[in-house]
């Protein structure tokens, strides 16, 4: 994948040197070989920090909100899921398309950092695909200003079956088993809000969960409040979740958050017809519009 990395650095350098952008957001090498966290480059001389490898996992789209109120034009490297995050933010009028320069990368799917740590560097080749990439339907960016020509081809979109396998597993349980499953998961929830903070669909200026005095959701880390948080957040991103899987990846407690988000996606598909969030700028989310023939069962 060297080819992409070199192009990445070269383009970042050119864009910064020309003054076409004030910042480039990509990835760099972290503390360990299996970590490639987000990198923010403002100096053309600093572009060799940028890397492209199988651990460039983080979805970068959300960071644009941090610079929403600056005049800066920002270049961003986008995999399939990053690009879908951008589409979401554009549809929500969160960012100005003119202020963003998108450099697309055909994504071969990233690898699971946690399993990489367990396997060790000697077995780098055996590290499995990250869970979030297993059922990816759009490895190629859906929106970009230029596309890096890679020597590694993007993987094919994953076959559809399996995408809702976890959901089917939970649906097959009895109500009491389902209750036990979800309460066991959310009893662990620390309410650290990593899932919310990383999510490109979570872009409220003021989040209900940052207003504990409002009385909606208490700050107690206990079952009722944790479940209220879980349900509210899931419903709030309904129809807008781009399935990047970042929420589940960043959860320190390993809560199967995507099994909840995917349930809602599956239901919306059944009720309103197939829809994938963040794929087409012109196609608004089903819950973000009103049609006379919407099914009565909207709630």
């Amino acid at each position: 994948m060297k080819g992409i990395q070199e192009q990445m650095r070269a383009r970042a350098r050119e864009l910064l040197a020309q003054g076409a952008v004030q910042m480039v957001i990509g990835w760099e090498k972290g503390t360990f070989w299996y970590l490639s966290p987000p990198a923010f480059v403002t100096d053309p001389e600093d572009c060799d920090r940028l890397v492209w490898d199988e651990f460039c996992t983080n979805n970068l789209a959300k960071y644009l909100l941090d610079y929403k109120h600056t005049g800066d034009r920002i270049a961003l490297f986008v995999k399939g899921c990053d690009a879908r995050g951008i589409v979401r933010l554009l549809q929500d009028n969160q960012i100005d398309r003119e202020k963003v320069y998108l450099i697309g990368i055909k994504c071969p799917g990233v690898k699971d950092g946690r399993q990489a740590a367990a396997l060790g560097e000697a077995r780098r080749g055996e590290v499995p695909l990250a869970e979030k990439c297993r059922y990816c339907t759009h490895p190629e960016p859906v929106l970009y200003d230029e596309l890096l020509a890679g020597d590694a081809a993007a993987r094919e979109a994953a076959p559809g079956e399996g995408r809702f396998a976890e959901v089917a597993k939970v649906e097959a349980m009895s109500p009491d088993e389902r209750y036990a499953f979800w309460t066991a998961a959310y009893d662990r929830c620390l309410r650290c809000y990593a899932c919310r903070n990383v999510c490109p669909a979570c872009n409220c200026r003021e989040c209900i969960f940052d207003r504990s005095q409002s009385g909606w959701c208490g700050k107690q880390m206990q079952r009722s409040e944790n479940m209220f948080f879980a349900i509210t957040r899931a419903m709030h991103v309904a129809g807008r979740c781009i399935e990047c899987g970042e929420c589940e990846r960043v959860c320190p407690e390993g809560i199967p958050i995507m099994a909840l988000n995917k349930k809602i996606i599956k239901d919306l598909n059944e009720l309103f017809g197939e829809y994938e969030a963040g794929v087409d700028l012109e196609k608004m989310p089903p819950l973000g519009q009103y049609k006379l023939d919407d099914p009565e069962e909207f709630h």
């Binding site: 966290p37 923010f40 309410r191 809000y193 990593a194 700050k219 206990q222």
Partner: protein, 333 residues
């Protein structure tokens, strides 16, 4: 020195569980945490640390402080029952043992004793388990912690071939070992195994003094860019002890509770009028590091970090405190 064979350890835990709640690392939902021992099941005493530190056992995520009832113009308060249940905490690593001493400073010294914390702390016996193999994220030795022998514990355990060596450190520890009866055998000349050598090294000398001159440094802008502003680092940190106090009111009655809080959240410093002296993640992240590496050492003479590596292990964007320490020492003022 005394030895117990591995298969007998559950019996020992069961013996301790008579009259106390025994907490020991166990698997839960794919992660390892301190859970009550109820006589059966698997233990997870392998190398490495639990996902969550044991601080929850002394300083619960959420605890009720008192309840109140209003009747007309009168109000009555009801204290919560004392947290006087005995606990035996088994399998604590040297880093987490040290974190208890740091929590003690915050909750028990400088003129105020936090009764909720004190009761649990005094009623808990701590049995340490030495590390013979470090995780990639471990750096306890940077803070002078010996992974092979914990400070401030009642009993020290070492993993050895086929079982564990045990040594009582305090009077209470001796009592616990007496309770074990014939589960323990004398191993006169047994030597504890060599302690683990944490792979991550960082020299913390001088970092406090450097930070004292860095409050306004542009470094904080650069280092905070990638931070998500979530509370994973603080909630998994064995030495983060911030809490919030709030009330839950239902009609004429309600209760006051305290729960963990995180300086990474915007609400943490937001004042009643809406002003926030730490408006962005730059100020919040800076506070987290200054608290650990400057403010706490200034007040208590020790760092509020024990090198357990949990924040580094779980941070979604690889904010690495060892790297921050190194970079802070390198930046020009």
């Amino acid at each position: 020195m005394l030895k117990i064979i591995r298969d007998k350890l559950p019996e020992l835990l069961t013996a301790w569980a008579r009259g106390a709640r025994v907490l020991v690392p166990r698997e839960r939902g794919g992660t390892r945490v301190f859970l009550p021992w109820e006589g059966e099941g698997e233990l997870a005493l392998g190398q490495g640390n639990t996902l969550e530190p044991p601080k929850d056992l002394f300083f619960p995520r959420t605890e009720t402080m008192y309840r109140y009832q209003v009747q007309g113009k009168d109000a009555s308060l009801a204290e919560e029952p004392a947290a006087d249940a005995r606990q035996v905490l088994v399998g604590v690593r040297s880093c987490d043992a040290k974190s208890l001493a740091i929590m003690d400073d915050a909750f028990l010294t400088k003129g105020y004793v936090d009764e909720f914390y004190r009761q649990r702390r005094e009623n808990t016996r701590v049995i340490a388990l030495a590390c013979t193999e470090a995780s990639p994220t471990c750096f306890c030795t940077a803070f002078g912690i010996d992974p092979g022998r914990a400070e401030g514990v009642d009993v020290q355990m070492w993993p050895v071939e086929g079982g564990y060596l045990l040594e009582a450190v305090t009077e209470a520890g001796q009592e616990l070992l007496r309770q074990a009866g014939d589960l323990l055998a004398e191993e006169g000349d047994a030597q504890p195994p060599a302690a683990a050598v944490p792979p991550l090294q960082v020299d913390v000398s001088g970092v406090t003094e450097k930070l004292q001159r860095m409050f306004e440094h542009p470094y904080w802008t650069a280092v905070s860019r990638k931070c998500l502003g979530c509370g994973a680092c603080t909630y998994l940190c064995p030495t983060c002890y911030c809490f919030d106090i709030q009330g839950e009111n239902q009609g004429d009655s309600g209760y006051k509770f305290r729960c963990w809080d995180s300086c990474m959240f915007s609400e943490y410093t937001r004042m009643a009028g809406g002003h926030n002296p730490r408006p962005s993640k730059k100020e919040r992240l800076r506070n987290r590091f200054l608290h650990k590496l400057q403010y706490f050492p200034e007040r208590y003479g020790k760092f509020a970090c024990v090198g357990c590596g949990r924040c580094l292990d779980r941070c979604p964007v690889n904010v690495d405190i060892t790297r921050v320490i190194r970079e802070v020492k390198e930046v020009t003022l």
